[in-house]
Symmetry: D2
Subunit: 286 residues, 4 copies
Amino acid sequence: MSSARHYTLTLSCPDRVGIVAAVSTFVANHQGWIVEAQHHADRVAERFFMRQEILAESLPFGIEAFREQFAPIAESFQMEWNITDSVQKKRVVILVSKLEHCLYDLLSRWQSSELDVEIPCVISNHDVFRKFVEWHEIPFHYVPVTPTTKADAFDKVMHLFDNVKGDVMILARYMQVLSPEMCDRYSGRIINIHHSFLPSFVGAKPYHQAYERGVKLTGATCHYVTADLDAGPIIEQDVIRIDHSDSVDDLVRYGKDIEKAVLARGLRYHVEDRVLVHGNKTVVFR
Amino acid sequence: MSSARHYTLTLSCPDRVGIVAAVSTFVANHQGWIVEAQHHADRVAERFFMRQEILAESLPFGIEAFREQFAPIAESFQMEWNITDSVQKKRVVILVSKLEHCLYDLLSRWQSSELDVEIPCVISNHDVFRKFVEWHEIPFHYVPVTPTTKADAFDKVMHLFDNVKGDVMILARYMQVLSPEMCDRYSGRIINIHHSFLPSFVGAKPYHQAYERGVKLTGATCHYVTADLDAGPIIEQDVIRIDHSDSVDDLVRYGKDIEKAVLARGLRYHVEDRVLVHGNKTVVFR
Amino acid sequence: MSSARHYTLTLSCPDRVGIVAAVSTFVANHQGWIVEAQHHADRVAERFFMRQEILAESLPFGIEAFREQFAPIAESFQMEWNITDSVQKKRVVILVSKLEHCLYDLLSRWQSSELDVEIPCVISNHDVFRKFVEWHEIPFHYVPVTPTTKADAFDKVMHLFDNVKGDVMILARYMQVLSPEMCDRYSGRIINIHHSFLPSFVGAKPYHQAYERGVKLTGATCHYVTADLDAGPIIEQDVIRIDHSDSVDDLVRYGKDIEKAVLARGLRYHVEDRVLVHGNKTVVFR
Amino acid sequence: MSSARHYTLTLSCPDRVGIVAAVSTFVANHQGWIVEAQHHADRVAERFFMRQEILAESLPFGIEAFREQFAPIAESFQMEWNITDSVQKKRVVILVSKLEHCLYDLLSRWQSSELDVEIPCVISNHDVFRKFVEWHEIPFHYVPVTPTTKADAFDKVMHLFDNVKGDVMILARYMQVLSPEMCDRYSGRIINIHHSFLPSFVGAKPYHQAYERGVKLTGATCHYVTADLDAGPIIEQDVIRIDHSDSVDDLVRYGKDIEKAVLARGLRYHVEDRVLVHGNKTVVFR
C-alpha cells in the first residue's frame, strides 16, 4: 500500500474483451498514476476482478468526481465496483471474550501504526480487559451475553457498532455465535478468526478435535462470518507443525501464534480493499 | 538411522515407574550401545512408548537371543513390543494406477538407496508403467479391477503380496477403495497417500473440493488404511500455499509435490520402525 | 497457464502514466482476449513490469504481425519486450552429474506433460544415467570434465546446446563451475539449483556448512547462473525444518526434496515466461 | 511441560554404554516418575545429551538431596549437569529499544501465564514504553546509551540485572551491540532476536540487505549472544514467503510476525531448560 494519499478502485464484472483497456484508458486520460494494479480472470465463473491504487494528487479531481465520471464505464461493463480514499481510515470495532492474545496483537499493531485504522471501541462480554483497553485511550463497552439476554446483547452490540459508524467488526476470539440477522445485516463486514484449518474441525473446541484426530499440523482460518457456522468465505489461513508429544494445551499455545498472524494478515487485506468476495470464495490481491 | 547393523526395539505399555530403567539396564548389562532412543508418555492414555536403536555388534548375542532374554521384562511390564534387524530390509509392494508421480519418486529414492528397502513387485490396475518398472528390474503385475471383478482382483493382489512376503503395501495413488477384509487382514501394513489435508476433503476429488471451498493452503496426508475411508491413523501431513489464481489443475500440480514428499517421509518412518500406533493415532519418533 | 494456444507478452520500461492503457487498448482494439495479466511497479527502480497471456485465436493476426504492429508502442515507452507462442515449446537441455533426484523428478514431470517442454538431450560428465535417459527416448551425451579438459568439455557442451537450439540449460546438480564466458554467453538462460538458502552457504558442501552452523531450517535456491558463483538472480527458494538430531546425511535427504520442488517451480516460471530479470533481482509473476 | 511441580534434570557427557541405565535406575530406585525424557547422541562430537522431567512429589526427597545423591553418578560419567525446580520461576529481564512488537508480545504471553516466568524489570535506552510497562506493574528503567556513555550504560544494565537476580536477559530488538565483557559474563544467558535467517544478512539493516539480494523468503533467528556479532548458538529460526512486490516496509512488517513467534519459542525452550549448548550449536529438546 502506498503511503501517499491514494484512491483504491476495486471492481468485478462478467469477463469480456476491453475491460482493462477501458479502465486504464480512463485513468490515463486524467493523468492518473497507478501505483499498484492486480487482475484476475476466473475462468470457471467467467468473471473478471480488478484492483487499482491511483495516486490522489495525480488526478485533476476528487473521489466524488471520479465516481461520477467512472459510472458510465462501470455501467457499460455491468461492474460491481467501489472506490475508497486512503485518508478515510477504516473504523474497526473489536469484539473480544476472555482470551487476550488477538486483542494484544491488534492493539500492538495499531499502536505502532502498522495497522493503519481507527479503533472507535472494543466490545466484550467480560469486563477483564477494560483497563488494558482504556490505557490505550480506546472506549471499552462491557455487554454481557447470557442464553436469555442474547438477543438484547446483540442488539446493543449492533447499536454500538452503528453509533461509531463501524466499517468492520472483528471477532477476536469472541466465542459467541452471532444471530443470522446480524450476519446478514453486516454481510462481508464481520471477520472471524477460527482456531482450525477449515473446513477441518468446525464448531466448538477445534484444538480438542485436532488432538483426538491426531493431525500433524494445526492451523487457523480468518473468514467472513455468514449465518452458516464457520463456513463463510475464507480470507487467509496458515498452519504450524505439531506431533504426538504435544498436548491440547500445546496445540492451544502453538495455535495462538497462528491465530494472531492470520487474523492480522486477513484484517490488513480487508482494510486495504484487497479482498473481493464472489459467492463463497474470495479473491485476495495481496 | 545408523548405517551400521543395528536392532530396533519398539515397545508400548501402561505407564509406570521403572520402564526406562529396566530396559536400559538390560541393554547396558549386555554392553549394548544405544545410538538413538526416544520416549513418549501419553498422559491422557496413560501409556508409555519407546524406541531404541542398538548396535548389533555391541551385543554378545543375536536377535533371537535378545527376544528370549528380553521377554520376561516385556511380560512384567505388559509390553506390546517388537525388535527388528536392519539387515532384514523391509519388503515394500507398490500399488499404482495411472498417475506417475509417486511411483517415479519412490523408485528414484530406491534407486539411490535413500529408501533402503526391497521392492519385490509393483502391482497396477493399468498396464501403462510396465516398461518403466521393468527397466528398474522390478517385476510388474497387471491386475485389472472392474466393478464386477473387484473381489477377484483384490484376492489376486493379496496373493501376490503374500507370495513375495510383503511387509508393507503402498497405495501410491492407487485410486481403488480396498475391501474391509483386506484392510483388516493387513492392519497397520497398508499405507495410503491422500491428496488433501485430512480430515478436510475426505473421499473423491479432494482437489475439486478444495477449489470449491476456496481454501488458501492445499495438502496431503499419509495414513494407515482402515475399513473407514480416509479415517485411519495419520503418519505425516504437509501443505503448500495456494491462492485465488490457482485452478484445479494448479492445485493438482502443487499437490503432487506435497504428496511425493509426504508419502516418502511417512514410508521412511514406517520402514525404520519409527511409527507406533495406538488407537487411531500415531506416535512418530522422527 | 492457459492450455489453449496463447501468446505471452512480457515487457519492462521506465514507469510513467499510460503504459497499461496503451498496451491493453492495443490488445482490445484487435479483440485480443487476455486470460492472465500481471503488473508490477518497482518504486525504487522506477521501472514497470508487465506480463499478459492473450488467446491466439482471439487475434486477427499471427505473432509476426503482432510484433510489427506493437513495435511502435514499445518504442514510445522504451520497452524491453518479448512475445512468445505457446505452441513453440521451450527446449530444455539438462546437465547432470551423478546425483539422480533432480533428473528423475524433471523427467517424471516431462513424462506426464506437467512440464510442457521439449528435452532435446541430457548431458553429463558421468556415464551413469545413459540407459535411464535413453529409456525415455531422449539422447544422452557423455562429456567428461577433468581439470585439464575443462575448457574443451565446456566447448563441447555449448556446441551440443547450440546444435539442438536449446532455449535454457538446467544445472540439475551438475557440480561443475561454468566458465565466465559460458555464463555471459547464455545470460538469463542457465538455471542452477543450489542446495542452500542463499545467500547462506555459498560454494561447496553447503549441507556440511549448515550442519556446522547449527541452523534450524535447511533450504534450496533456484537461480540464474552468472560469473559470480551462487550470486545470480534468485528465482525461487524454500526451506524445511531440521533439528539437532539430523546428521549431514539427513540434511542431504531432506534437502533433496526441497531441491526438486524448488527447481521444478523455478523452471516452470521460466518456461512460462513468468520471470523478468532486472539487475540482480527477479520479478516472478506466479 | 508438566503443570505439576517437577524437577528438570539436564546433562551432557562423553557418550558410552550405560548412561541412560545409570540415570534412570537412580530415578526409578527412588520411585521418581518421569513425565518427559529426551536423549541425543551426537555421533560426530561423541557426546550424549539428556533431559528428564521428574514429578517432585514422586520423590522421597527435595532438590538438594537429589543433587547430593546424584553427584557421584554425574562424576563417574564426567557429566556437565543441572537440575531445576519448576516452582523457582526463571527471572527474565527484557531490554528494548523503540520497537514495540516483541515487548507487547512477551508481555501478552506473560499476562496470560502462557510464558510462566517472572519479569522483574524492563530496561530501555528510550523512555517511550514506561507507561505501558508500568501499567503491567513491572518496573521500568530508562538507561540511555550514547557513543560516549556506552560503557557506563552497560555497567548500569548489568547492575540492574544482577540486582534483581536475573536469570536471562532478552534483547527484544534492543538495537545495541553489547560489549565482549558483557557477552562473556552472561554466556548462555543473553538471548537475541535477529531479524534475518542467519547466517544470511548479519549485522545492520538485514531487511534492506534481504531486499537488495532479492530473496524469496524472509526470516528471523533467536540465538545466544556471544562476542562474535550474530554468530552465537542458534536456538530457533523461521521464515515467511515474500516476493518482488514486497517493499522493505513489507519485509519489516512480515518479519515482525516471525520475530515475535521465533523469540517466544526460543525463550520458552530456554526457560524450560530444553536448550543444551555444545560448542557453537544447540540441542533443543522441544
